[in-house]
Amino acid sequence: MNAQEILAKLPYSKPFLFVDELLQIDENGSTGTYTFDKDLDFYKGHFKDAPVTPGVILTETMAQIGLVCLGIYLSQNTNSELKAHVMLTSTAMDFMKPVFPGEKVTVTAEKVYFRFKKLNCNVVMKNEAGEVVCKGNISGMVTTKMND
């Protein structure tokens, strides 16, 4: 399954799709990019007159590129008939630098384990200068049903 096919299977749309490109994917990990549109609604309130990307949105971006794209890829390898969903189950993140409206980020995920339908990944997000803006560990259950 190639990157375009995985992107087509993502269950998100604007304003909650945080993947632009999937640069690389294999059974051990994934790399993708996203550019934060300066007109995204949450910038109006986070913060008043000083827009900065919320940590939860950075976490979501890492989850979509790392956990969800990789989870769909891994599950389609074992059973291409079924539709895969990835339910987020835990995150542990460190935030090092702010991400401002309009910035492009690159997320790299490395699989720690994928066993009994649970996918655990280490994820790192870098800005265009190549600086690490946040990193952590994220996991989810790869299921065939939504809300299973």
């Binding site: 835990s90 384990y113 009994f116 339908k117 649970k118 996991s139 259950m141």
Partner: protein
Amino acid sequence: MDREVLIAAIKEIAAPYTEDKTALDTINEDTDFIKDLKINSANLVDIVLDLEEKFGIEIDNDSMAKMLDVKSTVEVIEAKLAAHDRK
């Protein structure tokens, strides 16, 4: 290995994943991980991975599917340890 020892090991491994300390304190063969200890399926995977590491065994998908309560989990560990000893 003695069942009491196995149950004590399961109790120690399950401890960080449950909020229900009363159910944990009274853990026994009939304790159900999901219903009694209120552990979700994602944390149940971690418990099984921790048990693999502690006992040096490998748990397959079919065995994992049975490991919903303490009794079945003890039985799976005993069977894996016995198979391991025969090798």
